[in-house]
């Protein structure tokens, strides 16, 4: 099977399809089975301040990361 589009688009399609497969998995996870998600290592952003700083720097260094100045990012002119 040949996927449509340029190579980057194909990769994105594959990634999206995989994500869809994962998202529709049907095994039940009861609340009492979710203990692992309480550990520090499974938090969404265990090192949140560091991530914020890194994101801020990247917004002024990478074109794709240069989103709107949502957190008052300024112009990133440096």
């Amino acid at each position: 099977m040949r996927l449509p589009g340029r190579p980057p688009l194909r990769i994105a399609l594959i990634a999206g399809a995989l994500a869809l497969v994962f998202a529709t998995a049907c095994r039940s996870v009861e609340p009492w089975e979710r203990g692992a998600f309480a550990s520090p290592r499974m938090q969404d952003a265990p090192h949140a301040p560091h991530a914020t700083f890194v994101d801020h720097v990247r917004q002024s260094r990478e074109a794709a990361a240069a989103g709107p100045s949502s957190s008052g990012g300024g112009c990133g002119c440096y």
Partner: protein, 911 residues
């Protein structure tokens, strides 16, 4: 003996949270556990599931994922009354540095870009299911950055100083020679051709004086059992860019919170007010933005425009099993308005048919001019991301894999892959090494260098050969958009880093982070990246301290129960009453706290106590130059304030801000140790003086400095510790960690040297800071007095001068309106001596602030303040005070700018 006790006390700080040995009974009282567990059971489920700190600090890209992921049921830590997981105070410092740019054949004096980042913030719940977050952050940057890319034969970084070293002034126009195929030929500064092709492009660097951006964000959320809705906003202020944003976000929990759907919508408006480099402006063609350029004739044009950004994001997070979570997000961004960078130009070689007599045989002569870059006025971008988070319980580790794909209508496609391993070590350590790879394609309009077959300026003559006028180049022969900004080129980024987290005591969490990154065209996936000239390296380190209010509340409950048991056992009476004591764990002096502008006023009351505080003071100066207490005319200032030669300008306004981290620890009940690192920033606007010799900088000179200031440390000894009267002696030292060699950038072929004395970041000398403080209370009345001094312990600092000694006497009175609110009125007298010595290197004396004689004086001020002490809730035990200090009278030494006032704010928490 004392030293041993102190050491033991310090070591206790780094243990897993537990009651202090001083007050701990043989076993934790059963009542404490029972009460905490009961409250945890009664806590509302919704409070256990809310936005994490990532969302609260304002990362739009993280809102959906963070909000969705942190709410999955079961992911919550134990809940304690008043404080929910995620309620926290946070302080952070970070530094970013770039390596030197590749400038072959040039000895550059440029320092690469470096950025100091500072952030403070808090998140707290209120009214049962609401949560509020507030974050302040600022970054100060300085150093050199590329203004253009040009063939090396243009010699854009050529030496502009007699010492042969490249200076701050870039050369953005000149001549080039091209062969018949429009390939640039190598030539020297005098136009001599080597017979070879030009070796390639190189960045033209330009340095700027330091700038500071300050931003304030807030967010408010409401939580339901299975949903959440949030509103947020903020503002960012920098001299050339004002930005504000508003955000709406939400979350819906499905399938008993096994799946969480999130969304966010953000709109940001920005106003650009960019002062183009007045040194380079005469050589930059800004005609593309003619309608947006103001003050063109002043020699310092200003580009004013606006932009609007929208971001929409939807996300889904889902549990796949007991140890697996996946997340996906789709983000759409749209930007409209001025999307270019006002400090970037594109070099264009104009092939003027009338000048080709200068061309080499078979080739062309190029007349090179710099055009302000031009980008499309809209941009639409889609970002698709997915993440897998897999727990590996047997070794207490977890793997996170994230992929993101970004596509926009500027032609930039980017792929990012991030992998990190999170390893828990024991109960209190988390170590996370990570790798990240990004590859991006170039924007359709990326043009590091352009050639145009036309004249830059064409002389128009009449049929008789008479001069009619000059006609500029035809813009239609150039692309619609063009930018040489290497960030829009094709390149790859490979970065690696590590974060280390340590849970300290009583809810304190320390995070250290490091990241190294290499940006290079050769790293682009599939090749075709930009040349080696655009390669550079970056380093980033940061440290943050967070106070987890839920853990803190748990520790506080435990200590309270312990104290109650001790009282029952010992029959103690009023041990916890009054000023401190374990019975008042966390209560920072109630409304008896000193006004916010008074430093070193409190010693900790009991051994093992700890205090974390943050203090900021902002002093504003506007108005006239004063001589003593009079207001002389500009003519007098010109003649007398600077000596010989005359002053040409004077400060029109100044802002000085200090941020101070306040750390105190009491190893014994009679000694409190203090450590107070500071961060300062200054800004100044200069105006021309009437009657002065015209100055090229007058009327458009704004400069700023910022960075680490001096660090204070020492001890406080309580002299009197009664129930209603307290006195202490502070003996502190100030270490000269603040830089005193901040300089102006070189411009107009002139070395201007050091900035004005008040703009340096520290005193430059080791200073002794004694202070004697008394505080008392009678009923609801509060009063106090303090005398303090700054004694310079060296005759001169590293740059040849020392600030004058200072003595301050202050007294205040106040009223405790309630048990949580106090008001105060304070009088201050300050005597500051003149600067001793002077800069040990020549400086360009332009303003009164450049002369040591114009420093110090005698100042009378009045302070009006309020103090809040939080008696309960997430912030229980915290104290917040504000004070406005209004100048009443000034008797300056020499000529100085009058003051507008000072705002002081202090937050503190006593454990």
């Amino acid at each position: 003996m004392v030293a041993t006790r102190a050491l033991r006390a310090w070591l206790r700080l780094f243990r897993v949270p537990r009651p202090s040995p001083r007050s701990a009974p043989p076993a934790v009282p059963p009542g404490a556990c029972l009460r905490a567990l009961t409250r945890a059971a009664l806590a509302l489920p919704g409070l256990a599931a809310s936005l994490g700190p990532v969302a609260s600090v304002g990362s739009v890209a993280g809102v959906g994922l963070a909000g969705a992921a942190t709410t999955l049921l079961g992911a919550a830590a134990p809940v304690v009354a008043f404080a929910a997981p995620g309620d926290e105070i946070r302080l952070q410092y970070g530094r970013y540095e770039e390596g030197e740019r590749r400038l072959p054949g040039v000895q550059s004096r440029f320092d690469p870009i470096d950025v100091d980042f500072l952030a403070v913030g808090a998140t707290a719940g209120f009214l049962d299911r609401f949560r509020f977050s507030l974050d302040y952050h600022q970054d100060t940057w300085s150093g050199a950055t590329p203004i253009a890319s040009a063939p090396r034969s243009l010699h854009g970084n050529r030496a502009s100083a007699p010492d042969g070293v490249s200076g701050a002034t870039p050369f953005v126009s000149g001549n080039l020679y091209l062969d018949g195929g429009l390939e640039v030929l190598e030539s020297d500064l005098f136009g001599n051709l080597s017979g070879r092709l030009d070796p390639g492009l190189v960045h033209t660097l330009s340095a700027a004086s330091p700038e500071t951006r300050k931003a304030l964000d807030f967010g408010i959320e409401h939580e339901w059992d299975e949903a959440q809705l949030g509103l947020g906003g903020g503002v960012s202020i920098e001299p050339d860019h004002l930005s504000g944003f508003a955000r709406l976000s939400g979350r819906l929990d499905l399938d008993r919170k096994r799946s969480v759907v999130g969304f966010s919508a953000t709109v940001a408006r920005s106003a650009i007010d960019a002062h183009l480099d007045h040194d380079a402006a005469p050589y930059i063609d800004v005609s593309t933005y003619a309608g947006e350029i103001h003050n063109q004739r002043s020699g310092s044009p200003v580009l004013r425009d606006e932009r609007t950004d929208w971001t929409l994001e939807a996300s889904l997070a889902r549990l796949l099993g007991r140890s697996t979570r996946v997340e996906g997000a789709l983000q759409f961004r749209r930007a409209e308005g001025y999307l270019a960078n006002p400090y970037k130009v594109v070099e264009v070689a104009f092939i003027d048919p009338d000048q080709q007599f200068l061309a080499p045989p078979g080739g062309f002569y190029g007349d090179v001019h710099a055009l302000l870059e031009r980008r499309p006025d809209t941009r639409n971008q889609v970002v698709l991301s997915a993440r897998l988070l897999q727990d590996v319980a047997p070794i207490e580790g977890a793997a996170s894999l994230r992929y993101a794909f970004a596509h926009d209508d500027w032609g930039i496609d980017a792929h990012t892959l991030e992998a990190e391993w999170r390893q828990q070590l024991g109960a209190t350590w988390l170590v996370t090494p990570r790798l990240r790879y990004t590859t991006q394609g170039a924007a359709d309009f990326y043009q590091p260098f352009l050639v145009s077959q036309q004249a830059y300026l064409r002389i128009v003559t009449d049929p008789g050969g008479g001069f009619v006028g000059v006609e500029p180049f035809d813009r239609a022969l150039l692309p619609d958009a063009y930018s040489g900004d290497h960030r829009l080129s094709a390149f790859g980024v490979l970065s690696g880093g590590i974060s280390i987290q340590k849970r300290l005591f009583r809810g304190f969490v320390l995070d250290l982070g490091f990241e190294y990154a290499r940006y290079a065209g050769s790293l682009r996936l599939g090749g075709g990246g930009e040349g080696a000239f655009a390669r550079y390296d970056t380093w980033l380190v940061d440290a943050s301290l967070r106070v987890d209010l839920a853990a803190l509340a748990l520790a506080r409950e435990g200590r309270r129960e312990i104290v109650l048991v001790e009282r029952d056992r010992d029959g103690a009476g009023d041990e916890g009453a009054g000023h401190g004591g374990a019975g008042h764990v966390g209560v920072a002096h109630g409304p008896a706290q000193a006004p916010a502008g008074v430093m070193f006023a409190h010693a900790l009351p009991a051994a093992g106590d700890f205090m974390l505080g943050y203090r900021t003071m902002y002093m504003r100066r506007d108005g006239d130059i004063e001589e003593g207490s009079k207001e002389p005319s500009d003519g007098v200032v010109v003649d007398r304030a600077c000596g010989d030669p005359d002053c040409t300008a004077a400060a029109a306004s100044m802002g000085h801000q200090m941020h101070m981290l306040d750390l105190m620890f009491a190893p014994t009940s009679w000694l409190t140790l203090a450590l107070m690192p500071t961060y300062v920033d200054h800004d100044m606007r200069v105006r021309a003086l009437d009657g002065a010799v015209p100055d090229v900088h007058s009327g458009h000179d704004h400069h700023a400095t910022g960075g680490f200031g001096d660090t204070r440390f020492g001890a406080l000894v309580p002299l009197l510790a009664g129930r209603r009267d307290h006195a202490n002696l502070a003996l502190l030292v100030s270490a000269p960690t603040g830089d005193t060699s901040q300089r102006f950038r070189r411009d107009h072929q002139t070395e201007r040297g050091f900035v004005h004395y008040p703009m340096q970041l520290g005193s430059g000398t080791w200073d002794f800071l004694p202070a004697l403080t008394y505080q008392g209370e009678r009923g609801r009345w509060r009063f106090g007095a303090q005398t303090s001094a700054s004694v310079r312990m060296e005759h001169e600092g590293r740059t040849g001068y020392a600030l004058g000694d200072e003595v301050q006497v202050t007294a205040w009175g106040g009223l405790a309106v309630t048990d949580w609110l106090g008001l105060s009125l304070r009088g201050l007298y300050t005597h500051a001596g003149r600067i001793r010595g002077r800069y040990d290197r020549p400086i360009l004396v332009r303003t009164p602030g450049d002369r040591p004689a114009n420093s110090g004086g005698r100042l009378f001020d009045l302070g009006v303040g309020l103090a809040l002490t939080v008696p309960r809730g997430s912030f229980e035990g915290m104290a917040l005070s504000l004070e406005w200090i209004q100048p009443l009278a000034e008797d300056w030494n020499g000529y100085q700018l009058e003051r507008t006032g000072t705002l002081a704010a202090r937050w503190g928490m006593h454990f």
